[in-house]
């Protein structure tokens, strides 16, 4: 998209987008008026719930976020060095790569019952499911990123006598960075999906639990409020992610 045309290109889309939102809200409101509120609450009811229950929502959101950060942090701290090790040692790459291929096919949420059996209900088990979700995309993409570093750069660095520090930090890492970020982003999205699954199946507190409890209490307005909170957290943090990514990778443009 050319920069000068940007402002002009934006406005013809902004109006239909606003219109689309309004129509969607109207459809929701009309539908809600035809069903009882314990089946389908209207947008205003949900908004009211969000406002009145905000402290409860924030409390659950904090618990959920902490679990995501714990599991995701562990996935990054273990995953990135592992990917580097795999990139450096072909034997390891083949052997551990085969193991990872097997494990990767298992949907991360499928680990939930085993993890609950091993760890018990709590932040640890939810974080472990998050780890299972985020780990594989992070490792896989970082590993692919190392392969994506142009061989000419690697050879040049070697020929010019680069030590391991220069080689990894100045050649491999910048070269692999775009893919590494892709993995980090994919892992982040899966982390949020995983935490909800973990909290729905067994956890005390957290937005997933809130949504489930809300249904049991026949409070769909509260369930939707919880879903809105998860969506907002996931989307907002992804936006932040994209900003950081653009910053770090600015030199590529």
């Amino acid at each position: 998209m050319a920069v000068p045309g940007r402002r002009r290109a934006l406005s013809p889309r902004a109006l239909p987008a606003a219109l689309g939102l309004l129509v969607a809200l109207a459809i929701w409101a009309v539908a809600a008026s035809r069903w009882p509120p314990h089946v389908l609450p209207g947008p205003l009811v949900v908004l009211e719930t969000i406002v009145t229950q905000r402290s409860e929502l924030v409390g659950h959101a904090l618990r959920t976020t902490r679990r995501v950060l714990l599991g995701y942090g562990a996935a990054v701290v273990i995953g990135l060095p592992l990917a580097m090790a795999l990139g450096a040692r072909p034997v390891l790459d083949r052997q551990v790569g085969a193991l990872l291929t097997l494990l990767r096919s298992i949907p991360p949420f499928a680990w939930t019952p085993l993890i609950l059996l091993w760890v018990g209900v709590g932040d640890g088990s939810a974080a472990a499911v998050v780890f299972a979700g985020a780990f594989f995309p992070i490792v896989r993409n970082a590993r692919a990123g190392i392969d994506a570093v142009p061989p000419s750069l690697v050879l040049a660095a070697r020929n010019l006598g680069a030590g391991p520090r220069v080689y990894w930090l100045d050649v491999v890492l910048p070269g692999a960075a775009p893919m590494v970020f892709t993995g980090l982003r994919l892992g982040w999205a899966l982390a949020w999906m995983s935490v909800v699954a973990a909290e729905l199946v067994g956890a005390d507190g957290g937005l997933g639990q809130l949504i489930l409890d809300a249904r049991n209490l026949a409070r769909p307005d509260l369930a939707i409020a919880g879903m809105v909170a998860i969506g907002a957290l996931a989307a907002g943090s992804e936006r932040g992610f994209a900003l950081v990514e653009r910053r770090v990778l600015r030199w590529r443009a």
Binding site: P12, V23, V96, A98, E238
Partner: protein
């Protein structure tokens, strides 16, 4: 590579790829048999032989097949619905900017909500049953398929369209004769990804509200304190997901052979 004995060495190398996996399995089995004195430990981590026996038993009494069929059927129906809705919607969003913006804006707000978070509400709306399961998988896959299709159609090179126009393809024929074939590889990739997502989400949906299926098998293992069943379910699920992906990958390669 062409050196004599290369084929043998290649085969050996292929087999040696699994050395670590086999060694780990052997250590797991032997360690469990020799080191573990408290049999209760094996309730938490069953031996590979126990898991294999459980798999054999479940396969023989046919219950594994029933679970497989149930889960596979849900993924199939949910994915089909996702393709039928997601591909046209994605194409519309990409081809008509104004209509697309109007359609896309509300969906953009819904998309970040993890599909699994819809489970409680869909149970409330549709009750516990196949429809509710399929709706969740549909949600999970449709967004992926739609987003991928939008990207694919948007990625059709404008020069291609201009060339077709110049060569006399009527405006109405552009979509079917130029845009669709040019976008096909991307759409096929999106469908593959969507089906993969459906397999991923399936377990979580089945955990919460299903009476048969691989997710139920996995959850049962924990509830009955027979984690071997859980492992069998996880293995079957992984195999199904991987097999579907391979099959779709082959289909994708076939459909887009000309690229």
């Amino acid at each position: 590579m062409v050196a004599p004995g290369g084929a043998v060495r290649g085969a050996l190398r292929g087999a040696s790829r699994w050395t670590l996996v086999l060694v780990l399995l052997a250590l797991w089995e032997l360690g469990g048999r020799t080191l573990v004195t408290d049999p209760r430990t094996l309730l938490f981590l069953p031996l590979p032989s126990t898991i294999a026996a459980a798999a054999w038993a479940l396969a023989r009494d046919g219950s594994l097949l029933v679970d497989l069929g149930r889960s596979g059927g849900r993924v199939l129906v949910g994915s089909l619905a996702a393709v039928l809705v997601g591909v046209p919607l994605g194409a519309v969003v990409a081809s008509w900017p104004r209509v697309g913006a109007a359609l896309d804006a509300p969906l953009r707000l819904v998309r970040p909500i993890p599909p699994i978070a819809w489970v409680p509400l869909t149970i409330l709306w549709f009750g516990v049953g196949e429809l509710q399961q399929v709706v969740i998988l549909f949600f999970a896959a449709a967004f992926v398929v739609m987003a991928g299709t939008t990207d694919a159609v948007r990625g059709v090179p404008p020069t291609l369209l201009a060339a077709a126009r110049n060569l006399g393809v009527p405006e109405r024929g552009l979509l079917l004769r130029v845009s669709v074939p040019a976008a096909l590889p991307g759409v096929a990739a999106a469908v593959r990804e969507g089906v993969g997502t459906a397999w991923f989400v399936l377990v979580a949906a089945e955990f919460l509200s299903a009476s048969e299926g691989l997710g139920v098998l996995i959850l049962e293992g924990r509830d009955l304190l027979e984690p071997a069943r859980t492992f069998v379910g996880m293995g079957a699920l992984a195999a199904c997901g991987a097999a579907t992906d391979l099959a779709l990958g082959a289909l994708q390669a076939r459909l887009t052979r000309w690229t």
